[in-house]
């Protein structure tokens, strides 16, 4: 197991290096000469040359790459052109909001997707199964931003049950930070009114973000359950007179969970991408909205900062899934190491 973890960590290092190469390469896609752009249209050759030297753009690529990575390692993500803020500070401020949104959405997707997939397989070709299948094909086909807008239209604008967007009402003061996770802080400080307001604001974004993930988790779980329910050990368990509930939840579900776990990890990463859309719709102050607003005003450093942050998060999630896998299934552990 130790050797496997070590090998997996080494791979993570390689992947991180690759990610840095990709983000570095993207900065080179910017058409035209960045120094000339920064200097403005009236700049003389002399000024452009000075700028180029100041930003190190006249040095060889390898040196520029080393400087770039060195800067990142010291927490230098560059500066936003719009706000003049340090991108690192912005990321630290916005990321907790995104983390809360994604975590809640993932929990909801698992809490609904796994049992529904299990039920659909156990009651194959009944109305439960049909409902599950319609959900699973619709969930991955419906555009999340459109679903969000339609939910807003119905539940916030028409019926007025839920707030339109944002994290809290303007009149609700946010709790004093402990973990910087708003809902957790409100809970820890015992500010129940704030917690309630925060939860009400979270309902629509969480449901919108969770729907595609719910659909694919449900789909995988259903397919895996159908497969495991045919296995000899399940037949055997039934023959021994175990109750159907026990057979399904204990014998079949456990084995079906391994591929489902992979999908959950994958979906966590895709949800981070989905926050760009969902946070835009619901005006949720996270890194997705930050990336979109920055991209729209050609503010490059924040976009790259968010790309790196999401990439690193996704890689860590994959690492956890792989380790979880090895822990669940001893056969994998042995072959992997």
């Amino acid at each position: 197991m130790k050797a496997y973890v070590a090998a997996r960590l080494a791979l993570l290092g390689v992947m991180l290096f690759g990610l840095l190469c990709v983000t570095f390469a993207i900065t080179y896609l910017v058409p035209g000469d960045p120094a000339r752009l920064a200097a403005g249209p009236d700049a003389t050759e002399e000024m452009v040359r000075t700028l180029r030297a100041r930003y190190g753009l006249d040095r060889p690529l390898a040196v520029q790459f080393t400087t770039y990575v060195g800067g990142l390692l010291q927490g230098d993500f560059g500066r936003s052109l719009r706000s003049r803020n340090d991108v690192r500070d912005d990321l630290l401020r916005f990321f907790p909001n995104t983390l809360e949104l994604v975590t809640l959405a993932l929990l909801l997707a698992v809490a609904v997707g796994v049992p529904l997939g299990m039920l659909a397989a156990a009651y194959r070709d009944t109305w439960v199964d049909h409902l599950a299948r319609v959900t699973s094909v619709s969930g991955v086909a419906v555009p999340a931003f459109w679903l969000g807008l339609m939910l807003q239209l119905l539940l916030a604008l028409d019926l007025g049950w839920l707030p339109l967007g944002g994290r809290l009402n303007l009149t609700t003061p946010p709790p004093a930070p402990i973990t910087h996770l708003l809902l957790v802080d409100a809970f820890l400080r015992g500010e129940w009114a704030t917690l309630g307001d925060g939860l009400r604001h979270a309902v629509l974004p969480v449901v919108t973000l969770c729907f595609p993930a719910l659909a694919s988790i449900l789909r995988v779980n259903r397919a895996e359950m159908l497969e495991t329910l045919q296995q000899d050990y399940v037949v055997n368990a039934r023959a021994h007179g175990l109750s159907e509930f026990r057979v399904v939840t204990k014998y079949a579900l456990r084995n079906a969970m391994i591929p489902t776990l992979t999908m959950i990890g994958l979906r966590y990463g895709w949800m981070l991408g989905g926050t760009l859309l969902v946070e835009s719709v619901f005006d949720w102050p996270g890194i997705g909205l930050y990336a979109v607003n920055s991209a729209l005003s050609s503010d490059f450093a924040p976009v790259m900062g968010v790309t790196l942050l999401i990439g690193i998060n996704f890689m860590l999630a994959n690492l956890l899934v792989d380790l979880g896998y090895a822990w669940l299934d001893p056969r994998l552990r042995r072959t992997a190491s």
């Binding site: 992947m15 690759g18 094909v137 339609m150 789909r219 981070l272 760009l276 790309t307 996704f314």
Partner: protein, 302 residues
Amino acid sequence: MSARVQSVAGRGWWEDRRHAAREAQRYARIFGRNTASIAGLLLVVAFLAVALVGPWIVPYPEDATGAVHLDRKLQGPSRAHWFGTDEVGDDVYTRVVLGTRVSLQIGLVITVIAALVGVPLGVVAGYVGGATGEIILRVTDVFLAVPALVLAVAVVSALGPGIVNAVIAIALVWWPGYVRLVHGKALAVTQESYVEAARAVGMGRVRIAFVHVLPNCLSPILVKASMDMGTAILTAASLGFIGLGAQPPNPEWGAMISHGRNYLPTWWWYSAFPGLAIYLTVLGFNLLGDGLRDVLDPKSRL
């Protein structure tokens, strides 16, 4: 393979054709048993038909190219304007119908570029292997470790917004899926006895890769391409919604939803109908992909 083996055995061209026809019939039967597959096929056929004849069936073709009729702006759905009108008085039905062609082009270009780049790399990684294969796989992993939408947004923010740049950006991040898929299949095919036979008679590695390995990966590639048409259209619409993709007056569905958003809730039809079009299109390609997989590649389910 069986068709080829039979011609070697001395059967004529006619026999081969009859055999192929029987196979096709069998596939059609499997496909037709599933209502969802048929629904998918119908949706895709409808989408293609609308894309093809769109300009001839819409009531106000000039509304997709920037016409302005302020006298009839923001009217609700009626007999004259089935899906209502937008803020400059353009017919939403016309724009949704003509948007079909835009989406079809986007989907096709992205899927074809991704397959053309990813498939050969996958064959090389899976069959030729070695250091080159290893490098290809590592690069693929890096790309797969960042959600496609995020990477596409990063690339577009470097290139500048616009539909062409959006398509380039998405295609740039779309190929790794094909490398993974083909790599896996190629590894499996390499174990087959006919590949071993080809090697035994002295066929070169590259030639084996493209003559024997690649054709046997075609079924899963086709299934993935069908699914990808839907997902690529969805991703391009997402960029359009963010404001980094198609720009007005181009009738792109995502951009239309984004503009219509400012007119909610009173003028709901402006956003609602383009979204419905995206949903039905993506649903169609997904169901078709599922159906094709049941027929062509029954062993893999997900």
